[in-house]
Subunit: 394 residues, 2 copies
């Protein structure tokens, strides 16, 4: 009961700060005495700050203004991508305070090495956060792979990294401080849900980098499927007799809209470093594609149009099956939205005809490729706001 009331008070300040203790009582229906006790505990746990005077213009005795603390507890998000490492720290208000992104060719490199570098990045970023007065209370790692519901802490399969059955905790300097892995598309979708006031309650979020993932938010909650494998958009058959895929099938979406496929079709395989050794630092392939497209390069435009049509086809299946309010193009491909969205919308318009479907129901994410690492960082914060007793008592 007290746990729930702590969450109600913290949630109320998070949504409407600054508030006085009296304001909190008014909003929550709790007595002033109860609010004071709960607020004291939340201050003790580092979740709330109380300033000397309220910035309100109201007449009368000034209250003290409660705000969610911008020092103290924080969430660390980490990301291992095929071509980069990322890190982000958000404070309890959900504001990003530290960002880091390092280009790094992670595909096929030894797991220990990739995780050791990730741990080193985490340590750097936590030190930087500590200098801002922030203590990391939880760590979540975004990976481009399958994270099953059970057992927790396992990356079952991350084909574009070459990972099979990897437990990050097994390779982390301090296993107790190891991050909890989660699928990057899932985290990107959550970030989008938390970020976009106008996000539907039920939407499909497409997140593409080397692979193509999707995540389903249903009624405001992540839908992970029976085993945690939901949203595997990349292996939807879009042209069943088409291009052979590394998975053993033919015509999977990834063969038309995956990064490698698009770069090849655009004639950019060499420039993007696909032919180089794993340890070389390749050019940013998404930026390269965007640059060519802006310049009107015909092969790049053709490749993006082909990818957009394939993405549209796969999303026709998603719309037919799931009936979402909307679709969001996120991850790196949000930066290619100008060229992908028209073809995607054309496929949807042609093929979704037995139900109402507005072209604007497909939009691109404002978060783009920051989404997954931001979602990873915010997950900890959202958990604390739902249950402030996760923080040590002051």
């Amino acid at each position: 009961m007290r746990r729930q009331n702590l969450a109600v008070v913290l949630g109320s300040v998070a949504a409407h700060s600054p508030l006085s203790r009296a304001d909190v009582a008014g909003r929550t229906g709790l007595t002033r005495a109860a609010v004071s006790s709960l607020v004291d505990e939340l201050i003790g746990r580092g979740a709330l700050s109380e300033a000397e005077t309220a910035p309100s213009g109201r007449v009368g005795r000034p209250g003290r203004a409660l705000t969610v603390s911008d020092r103290g507890p924080a969430g660390l998000g980490l990301e291992i991508g095929v071509t980069h490492l990322g890190a982000c720290v958000v404070d309890l208000r959900g504001e990003p305070r530290v960002w880091r992104r390092v280009e790094r060719a992670n595909a096929g490199r030894p797991v220990e090495r990739v995780l050791a570098e990730t741990a080193a990045l985490a340590a750097e970023v936590e030190a930087e956060a500590a200098a801002l007065g922030l203590q990391v209370a939880g760590r979540v790692l975004a990976v481009p792979g399958v994270v099953p519901n059970e057992p927790r802490g396992l990356v079952a399969h991350a084909p574009n990294l070459g990972w099979h059955a990897v437990c990050p905790a097994d390779h982390w300097p301090d296993p107790a401080g190891a991050p909890e892995p989660e699928n990057e598309a899932n985290l990107g979708a959550l970030a989008e849900y938390w970020h976009a006031e106008h996000a539907g309650e039920t939407f499909v979020h497409v997140s593409a980098e080397a692979g193509i993932g999707a995540a389903l938010v249903v009624g405001g909650h992540l839908f992970r499927g029976a085993r945690g494998f939901a949203g595997e958009l990349g292996h939807i058959p879009v042209h069943p007799d088409g291009v052979p895929c590394a998975c053993g099938a033919r015509g999977c979406l990834e063969q038309y809209a995956g990064e490698v496929a698009v770069l090849r079709e655009a004639g950019l395989a060499h420039e993007a470093g696909l032919a180089q050794d794993g340890d070389a630092q390749p050019a940013d392939p998404v930026a390269l594609l965007a640059e060519r497209a802006v310049a009107g390069d015909a092969p790049a435009l053709h490749a993006l149009e082909r990818a957009g049509r394939a993405l549209g086809l796969a999303l026709v299946s998603a719309v037919n099956l799931i009936d979402p309010d909307g679709l969001v193009l996120g991850g790196a491909y949000a930066e290619l939205a100008d060229w992908l969205l028209p073809a995607m919308r054309a496929e949807l318009a042609t093929r979704v005809t037995v139900r109402p479907w507005e072209p604007q129901a497909l939009r691109s994410s404002e978060l783009g490729r920051r989404g997954p690492v931001l979602g990873a960082a915010q997950l900890t914060v959202r958990r604390i706001i739902a249950d402030p007793t996760l923080l040590p008592a002051g």
Copy 2:
């Protein structure tokens, strides 16, 4: 609170009958006095019966045995198919007591006429049920069409019947007694979930007759989508540049695995009455296909194999997106499972490779084409068991 306790007591007897009042107290943790009061009310509402002596072999004073009533409240399921009308009454134990199925070509006939005949069938069946001591407490109508979440009572679109924006209540002799429409695939899936002890908590149920629908049961609940349109399997693009579809797109599943497509491919269009007038009574096309397939007829076997491959392709998308525990082939196509399942399983085996997938995770329904009308009848019973105050007090 009392409502909830009534449901607990009725649910307990439904799951474990016969029980004495003392058994119910033991199972529910309610006091004997409370149980007696609740049981009396449930007997008054017609939901429970109490026999003179318990059939238990236990020593001591014999209790009286409580069972869910096999007289009294009942659910009526109705079904309007493209080529038939159906009706079913189940008692409060969930047992079907009256079945009726009439072959009738409903496609393109005036809505008023189809609904008038359905109402007449309902009246006949209710009279038959009354002779068994059963009073219909709720009516649900299975339709092969889209039933949106809002407004209730509307069939937005049933292309294979030629219906647009039909409210059954507008055409029912007694509007207050009009049935609540629901998509037939949804009802088939619910019937399957209630019937099969081994049904997964999360599964996709494919229901094919003239059209092809699917329904998603997620965590034991029907997933209807943001607007009620989830599970539209028939218009998933399986061969995007393939056969033109009536919906305006190309290569929709329905063009390969829909009844008309299969009959045409099998060379049975004429025999199945596709070329006849709407009012003629056609042969049962599913029985016809099964008969030919049993006889080893090559065009029929080829058509079923092609349909199975197309169904398999569409389900690859469903597995990738939703990650269900299992897939169920229901409706009329369950009767063709011997010929459809091998090709469906082959597609799934070839294309679902990045996650574990057992061939047996796809199975056919035992309920077959009885599923939707049975689910329609059972829905009322399940609602009463969840809230016995839906029944008038005795």
